[in-house]
């Protein structure tokens, strides 16, 4: 299974994502510069965190028009797996691959610490290895993670089970309905503010993020009839 980790000017979690893929599931992974125009080789695309284009204008507003984003949209439409983390989530919102928008954290503070999430939907390709309702420990690091959408969109998120993660303990940013992560209607595009790639080993304080990577590999193998030797 081939993974792409996108790199925009100002991305800073790209190496963490790359290493997380290597360390958790040992699959081939490449860094892809934002000017790339062909992602056909890749089965999963990770849009990493950071401050792409310096967060100028709005987080993700300019990255969303990078050449590679047309390819991400095509890949998403073709049912490939797309995971946007933190700034990557903001880019997916700006690009319209996921509904809603981000506001400044209600506290106006940049919050950087571990956070407890409840797995609300364990049927997406990125969450099948979790139990429904399981509480997991995944760190956050953001100043604009206050998810917002209109009531109609929120009702749709509920009825389609598009809320993937909620903050289980304290809501660190004031997001609507304690939302920490959502998916598109088909479930193949997931965006989340917390950083699973920073929680892949006990040495990092938690390994609860590991199963996002094992999940997507499992689903890809099932869909492609690939045998598992291990």
């Amino acid at each position: 299974m081939n993974f792409a980790v996108l790199v925009f000017p100002g991305s800073n979690c790209d190496i963490d994502c790359y290493k997380a893929v290597e360390d958790t599931i040992g699959q081939p992974v490449d860094f892809i510069w934002h000017t790339a125009t062909d992602l056909s080789k890749y089965d999963a695309i990770i849009v990493p965190g950071g401050f792409s284009y310096g967060d100028y204008l709005r987080c993700g507003a300019i990255s969303r028009f990078a050449p590679v984003m047309n390819e991400v949209i095509k890949a998403a439409q073709a049912g490939k797996f797309v995971l946007g983390i933190c700034n990557g989530f903001q880019i997916l919102l700006e690009s319209g691959l996921l509904p809603g928008a981000m506001l400044r954290n209600r506290s106006l503070k940049f919050r950087c610490h571990s956070s407890l999430l409840r797995v609300e939907n364990n049927t997406t390709p990125f969450t099948v290895d979790y139990e429904a309702g399981e509480v997991i420990d995944i760190p956050i690091a953001h100043g604009e993670g206050n998810y917002y959408c209109d009531e109609e969109t929120l009702a749709r998120l509920h009825s389609n089970k598009q809320i993937v993660f909620r903050y289980a303990h304290e809501n660190p940013n004031g997001s609507l309905d304690d939302i920490a992560g959502i998916c598109n209607e088909h479930g193949n595009v997931v965006g989340m503010m917390p950083h699973p790639e920073r929680a892949v080993h006990q040495l990092l304080g938690s390994e609860d993020g590991k199963r996002m990577f094992t999940s997507v590999l499992k689903v890809w193998r099932e869909r492609h009839g690939a045998t598992v030797n291990s």
Partner: protein, 80 residues
């Protein structure tokens, strides 16, 4: 040359957390009459055109596509 002045603000029904913080600061400075503060962005665009109708249509598209996120923001602009 036409100059477009674009104002982008957080929608009225969306909490403007920065605005609320500034309102609180103004209150603590004794400006109790401040009932609301909304913080937004101000952009100046110089356009290489003299066609006002065309500029109007194109600036509107710029606002919709990039300058404002209409999920959370309103925009208005003036041409001169």
């Amino acid at each position: 040359m036409i100059k477009a002045t674009v104002y982008v603000t957080v929608k009225q029904n969306v909490l403007d957390v920065q605005g609320s913080a500034v309102q609180g600061a103004l209150h603590s400075l004794g400006f109790g009459e401040v009932n609301q503060v909304r913080i937004g962005k101000y952009l100046e665009l110089k356009l290489d055109t003299s066609d006002k109708a065309e500029a109007e249509a194109r600036v509107k598209t710029m606002c919709e596509k990039l300058l404002a996120n209409t999920v959370i923001e309103d925009y208005r602009f003036e041409l001169s």
